[in-house]
């Protein structure tokens, strides 16, 4: 049953219904609701684990399992789950596992280049609304075609990073050499094709590693390979429906859509596997400047993120291209069921006194966290009045009349801001400048228009703030 159609009743009927509370919920119905939202584990139900309930357990698992299988790569704290998705569109439920981003290295790269690229995988990090956005995997490709060269590169990669690896070669002989070195780290094997599937399947079984089934531009053969691999005993499969450079972005989209639609909306057997996207093909095209390759790669990556890739390999490592990719995937994989707003309140930063500034912002979570982090990093002593804008940013809230002179005046009164400070001077965001006159009129506070972006708050206060501007 598709995840979007599953109701707590479907689950409740199959639970032991002991209301024992061992799962931590008040009763089985509450637990069923949690299961439907994928906020609880089936194994949290102790009675269900009893042998007599095995059938019920299996039935429930059949209902609750994701339409796209979850495949684990890597080991330890850097292990990743690829796939494990339930729905086609994010608004139908939520997406669970962000597409893993792998950067490639090849076995013929100079030590210097090789290490530089591994370091990007290890160290790239961007602080974004309280989260650290990072890269996830290293793809080691053989361009040499030489078994020992490949083995040496894989060994070096294994020494330089703990992040999961993708070993890329169509030669089973080379793959075996690579696996001998790092099989204990559970790398992803790329790839089983219609030519080499048997040898690759043997390697996947022998070393217990997940395997990519690859059939670019031919989904029938792709399904053929996954079906055959299943019959062969391979469980953890990732699929490569093919990625072409930007000229054929339509083919990429259509292949990804078909694959994912069939696995989720049609529940086709043998198709419910994570998808590997390959934005790095943008670099196979001769361009005037490598900036164009990297730019096109970022566009292909955006397509992969927006449309169903569960992992992808990129080649470009420039921050200007990586940043939009990691932020986009964070955005698309944010749970749309969660509220986007914070509680309206009067926040206190540092140790403000009765002459300290009073600033204003809206309760859209992203706006609030951005402003808060700017105030904190500048170590300012001030008050921040967070008005209820129904979770909209300043610009949208002003345009959409969610933040008005009325709501601001009301918030000033409700949170008794006048009791905290001696002055009556409010600094409003630059993007709400148009409200300044009305706020002043309605609230009786003197209003100054602050910077357009909260990164300018410290500078603004430093240069312009005075508690009693009229004097």
């Amino acid at each position: 049953m598709p995840a979007k159609e599953l109701s707590p009743i479907d689950i409740y009927q199959r639970l032991p219904r002991t209301n024992c509370g061992e799962c931590g919920e008040a009763n089985c119905m509450a637990f069923a609701a949690k299961l439907v939202n994928r906020e609880a584990l089936l194994d949290d139900c102790t009675p269900l684990l009893e042998p007599k309930n095995k059938e019920a357990y299996d039935n429930l698992w059949a209902l609750l399992k994701p339409a796209v299988k979850a495949v684990e790569v890597g080991v330890g704290e850097n292990a990743l789950t690829l796939g494990g998705e339930y729905v086609f569109f994010r608004h139908e439920f939520t997406y669970f596992h962000q597409p893993a981003i792998a950067v490639d290295v090849s076995d013929e790269m100079s030590d210097e280049e090789f290490e530089l690229r591994v370091n990007v995988v290890n160290d790239f990090s961007y602080e974004y609304i309280g989260m650290k956005l990072t890269l996830d995997m290293l793809a080691v490709r053989s361009t040499s075609g030489d078994p020992d060269t490949f083995a040496a590169a894989v060994r070096k990669a294994g020494e330089l990073t703990q992040k999961p690896m993708i070993l890329c070669t169509h030669s089973p002989e080379l793959m075996q050499k690579g696996l001998e070195v790092v099989a204990d780290k559970r790398p992803l094997i790329y790839a089983a094709t219609k030519e080499n599937w048997k040898e690759m399947a043997e390697l996947a079984l022998q070393y217990g590693c997940p395997l990519v089934a690859s059939s670019p531009q031919d989904l029938d053969t792709l399904k053929s390979i996954t079906h055959t691999l299943e019959a062969y005993g391979v469980k953890d499969i990732v699929v490569d429906p093919g990625t072409k450079p930007i000229d054929y972005i339509a083919a990429n989209l259509n292949n990804f859509v078909k694959q994912r639609w069939q696995s989720i909306n049609e529940e086709e057997e043998h198709m419910g596997y994570p998808i590997l996207g390959l934005p790095l093909v943008a670099w196979t095209v001769e361009e005037e400047d490598t900036i164009i390759n990297e730019w096109n790669e970022a566009v292909l990556a955006a397509l992969c993120i927006d449309r169903f890739a569960d992992a992808m390999i990129i080649h470009g490592i420039s921050g200007w291209a990586l940043l939009p990719q990691v932020i986009l995937r964070n955005n698309i994989y944010t749970d749309p069921r969660k509220p986007v707003s914070v509680e309206p309140e009067l926040c206190v930063y540092g140790e403000p006194d009765e002459l300290s500034p009073v600033l204003l912002t809206t309760n859209f979570a992203l706006t609030f966290y951005t402003v808060a982090s700017d105030i904190e990093s500048a170590k300012l002593d001030c008050y921040l009045l967070v008005v209820d804008s129904e979770g909209m940013s300043v610009e949208s809230a002003v345009a959409g009349r969610k933040m008005t002179a009325d709501t601001v005046a009301e918030a000033l009164a409700n949170f008794k801001v006048g009791d905290k400070v001696k002055h009556r001077h409010l600094v409003i965001p630059g993007r709400s400048a148009r409200l300044s006159g009305e706020i002043q009129e309605l609230s009786g506070w003197t209003v100054s228009v602050g910077p357009m972006d909260s990164s300018g708050i410290a500078k603004y206060l430093n240069e312009k703030w005075t508690p009693f501007p009229e004097d």
Binding site: G83, R141, V257, A302, W320, L366, R434, D453
Partner: protein, 441 residues
Amino acid sequence: MVKPKDIELLLNKNLLEKLAKFQEIELEDVDIELDEIEFSVEGGSGGVSSPLLARLGFEFALIRDSANRITSLLGGPASPMGMRMPQMQPAVPGLAPAAPVVKPTELIPETAGVPVSKYPGSIVEVKLGATKAEGGTRSTSYVIGGEKVSPFFNFQAATPNKPVIALDVFDWPKVPLSKAVKMHFREYLEDTGEWARVCVEKYGAEMINVHLLTIDPLIEDATPKAALKKVEAVLEAVDVPISIGGCGDPHKDYAVFKAICENIEGERLLINSVTLDMDIEGTAKLVNDSDNCVIAFTSMDVNKARELNRKLYDFVPKEQILMDTTTAALGYGLDYAFTVMERCRLAGLKGDPELNHPLSSGTTNAWAAREAWMKMGPEFAPRELRGPIWETITGVTLLLAGVDYFMMMHPAAVDALKTTINHLMKNDKPAEPTEWVSVRL
């Protein structure tokens, strides 16, 4: 037959020896059933120290892992003792073939099938601009909308009309623009017509959005008559269709739109926008009487979008309405913008008669994200690239959600999105896969 389930291991000094026996088990043509391994600690038998326990725990985990792998090798289900992730439960018995596996020797033939969409609805088509033959003075006009399937699902239906990219120009030279954007227009900020001309001739704008900021009572409070003059100057300077943007003040915008709709004839302008707190009836009648088009703007709320459209239908034909559900920047709420648009588009396709309009996006909002314009560390330089790729990816993402009309700013982003649209319109299959595995990139 080996049944680890039946082996009871006691924690004593012989344990590791017993464990070692596992390594000697030969696993050919055997059937392993691994439901659970039970371990019990024998109380008081020699005082098991906690480091030893930890070590043993580790060893047990290894056994468990290899046992899982063994069962998995033999085609059995993985043990429920594995990862306790909701997605990582054991495979359903019955799906997994029973051991021993008869390994296939040939590929099993399969067909993947082609997904069929059964949407009863379609998006209305809206015509923007008017040529001489159509009663206007433009060199071209555009039809947008008309989709019957999700955006660019070309295997289900071709995309009937190409999305249109319009560039923003402002009638106020002090409009705050990011450095990366401003550098392309610095010389034209004082002359709206010239600015528009450059957008069309140099940067390939398919349409121009004139944003009349000076009419804002808080800026210059310019008169409707003055605004009309500016619009006429732009119509003179360029021959593409144009859209007229207000300042966001509901009363002033209405007054200005009125002057424009009543005085410019036959151009099928796009009025940007009508909102829920405007004089909806008045604005809609202006649009209807002048045979112009209008963008119904709401703030990221499917129900509000529906409500506004419903109110407009009393006064203006559907074929003159675009909807804009607000664009938030990448990193700054793009996910909400994306999902609201995607939901509107799907609802329209599924037959919701109040949401089946072409979508419009103020993609220039991408520049509201600080990452688009801010000076950052050298690892994120240059911002001259970071900014336009930001706008491009915001645009690509909303293109995939269903946007038909883009309002944009940076020439490189315009070019990139245009290229992407052209490629997405194609439905030819690539001749062969792209080899990358063994290529020196």
